[in-house]
């Protein structure tokens, strides 16, 4: 992210302006600017930069909270231990799977939702908009419980409702197997976060110039052609921002997994692995190393998006 944090170049002063006065005023303005924005900036740095540096430091030690006397410097051993362990690669696989599936489905679904919202009669639009915000406002843990209880072999209704589907019966244990567990985890995640994507896409849709649509229509373009050749290319920025944000968010998946499976049946995500090493097993050194690796993965994704797909976050997020 270092590439996005470069300070902007100085604006050149108008030549005709009287020199002394302007620089006095602009100096005062700069001072006031940092005076006002400084505290927020410092707080942001101290709640993230400090912990991650501490994590980097901790990750170089063999350190268990239950055995603090034997804390010793081991260099990169923790990283070696993690990167050669099947657990880590399973967690990466699960995390990538959940991220790719949820973001892909949410993008399509969210686009559909956004289209319906633009096309729906103005009388029902507020109803849809209110409804769409509900999943966003529901706590992730609550959404996870709702979906878990629905699929649960004892408390659920899914087995009796969908008994007609091949492979589903009264005794189908959705949480007894990796793939079915992941399916329910993805469903809950998709339900909860599609509204966010659809709202971003809705804002993007509003930016597509109506004139272009009309022109394409006059030229005889079909609905599909207009969608692919006019609408989508014109809202590319909004789509990329939505995908980037959701990808990074999905990559941190934790709450739903904790509630539904607690990592059983190889459904552990990277965040969950870090949590289990640190909080449950009190392996500060190993847990810190997992945290640092997760952080690096997130940075890598962000860099790939911003450099590779040219997502201009400052531009799209409106820095004047």
């Amino acid at each position: 992210m270092s590439t996005t944090t470069l300070p902007p170049t100085e604006k050149t002063q108008p030549v005709s302006a009287p020199k002394g006065k302007i620089s006095d005023r602009s100096r005062a303005e700069r001072k006031l600017g940092w005076l006002l924005a400084g505290p927020a900036f410092l707080v942001m740095l101290s709640v993230t930069a400090y912990p991650i540096l501490q994590a980097v430091y901790d990750s170089l030690f063999s350190y268990r909270l239950t055995d603090p006397a034997n804390r010793s410097f081991t260099g990169l051993t923790n990283y070696w231990v993690i990167l050669t362990d099947q657990l880590w690669w399973t967690a990466i696989g699960v995390t990538v799977f959940i991220t790719v599936v949820t973001v892909a489905v949410e993008l399509v679904l969210g686009f559909g939702l956004a289209l319906v919202m633009t096309k729906a009669l103005s009388s029902i639009r507020p109803v849809i908009r209110a409804a769409i915000l509900i999943p966003y406002a529901v706590i992730t843990v609550v959404s996870a419980f709702a979906w878990q209880f629905a699929f649960d072999i004892n408390t659920g209704f899914v087995n009796s409702w969908f008994a007609w589907l091949p492979g589903v019966g009264a005794d189908t244990d959705w949480f007894g197997d990796t793939w079915t567990s992941l399916l329910v985890i993805c469903l809950a995640e998709i339900w909860k976060t599609t509204p966010f994507i659809s709202l971003l896409l809705l804002a993007g849709l509003a930016q597509v110039p109506e004139v272009l649509q009309e022109a394409a229509k006059v030229d005889g373009a079909s609905w599909w052609q207009r969608m692919w050749k006019v609408t989508i290319p014109n809202m590319k920025a909004a789509i990329m921002v939505a995908v980037l944000f959701r990808t990074l968010d999905a990559f941190r998946v934790f709450d739903t997994i904790f509630v539904m499976t607690a990592g059983a049946n190889n459904t552990e995500s990277v965040s969950f692995l870090a949590y289990r090493q640190t909080i449950a097993r009190l392996e500060i050194g190993l847990g810190s190393a997992v945290s640092v690796l997760l952080f690096l993965a997130v940075v890598l994704i962000a860099v790939v998006f911003i450099k590779g797909f040219k997502v201009d976050l400052a531009g799209t997020r409106g820095d004047s």
Partner: protein, 277 residues
């Protein structure tokens, strides 16, 4: 639009509303099932029972749920207040003043917003234990700022850019200082943006699970999502499903009402900050 087309979009709208409400309706229905009814395999309870609400509000689970509710409200409100105050000054500077480092502040906010929470938890868990912040309110309020502050800065600067700043200049021409112009003219204009930002920031703090579950150990500071996640019934023979459903509904309803009341502003707040509108 033709009549047929219009009908299809209407059907689409109905499907969306159904999709959004269904899991909530399910949790509500579940919360009214009596213990014997929980495993009836159907969506609705056979008879409506208030037993689960009695369990969490006055019964065996109330000493788990009620302190968690108090913690969540207190911690989230304080974290929201602090980050809104800090973000207000920062967003004013970003929207209004010309100073180098504007972009640096916005990019930092962005970087913090995408920061994996678990990477902050691991070191904090250790440090908080050493300095006595583990399982306390401040021990959660401080890391919550990493969730609420970036979104507050982004959302509020987006709102503040829409403010007609000529009015501030007019006030300054009339002899007001920068600070007076800010307080007397801009604050009233900015209040709706600040309010919306506060709601969004509160949502995010209210939704937290990772910090809540990692940095607390007792009901002294454990917030609702963590308490729900760890709730396993008063005894091992008691199925906690109904109680969890009731507690889940209680923490969901106020937030949903808030959303319904301020939906227009929240949508503006969520999208203004993200895509230039």
């Amino acid at each position: 639009m033709s009549r047929r087309e219009r009908t299809w979009w209407l059907v689409g709208g109905v499907v969306i509303v159904f999709y959004c409400l269904f899991p909530i309706a399910w949790i509500a229905s579940l919360s009214f099932k009596a213990p014997a009814d929980i495993a009836n395999g159907s969506f609705l309870p056979t008879t409506f029972s208030g037993e689960n609400y009695a369990t969490i509000l006055t019964g065996s689970a109330s000493d788990l749920f009620l302190p968690a509710l108090r913690n969540s409200f207190g911690i989230c409100l304080i974290a929201t207040a602090i980050s809104c105050l800090l973000a207000m000054f920062a967003a004013y500077a970003i929207a209004r003043l010309d100073f180098p480092g504007k972009k640096l502040i916005l990019s930092t906010a962005l970087a913090v917003a995408i920061f994996p929470v678990i990477s902050i938890v691991t070191p904090l868990f250790n440090v908080w234990r050493q300095i006595g912040l583990y399982d306390t309110w401040p021990g959660l309020i401080i890391p919550y700022l990493s969730l609420t502050l970036p979104i507050s800065i982004w959302t509020m600067s987006a709102f503040f850019r829409e403010i007609p700043w000529e009015m501030e200049q007019a006030a300054q021409v009339d002899g007001a200082t920068t600070w007076q112009a800010f307080r007397k003219v801009i604050v009233p204009l900015a209040a709706p943006g600040v309010f919306t930002t506060a709601i969004i920031a509160f949502f995010i703090a209210w939704n937290d699970f990772v910090y809540g579950i990692s940095l607390t150990s007792t009901s002294a500071s454990r917030p609702v999502p963590a308490a729900l996640g760890l709730f396993s019934g008063a005894s091992q023979f008691e199925d906690p499903t109904g109680a969890i459903a009731a507690a889940a509904l209680i923490v969901t309803v106020p937030v949903v009402l808030l959303v319904l009341l301020f939906q227009r502003r929240i949508v503006a707040g969520l999208t203004n900050g993200a895509v230039k509108g």
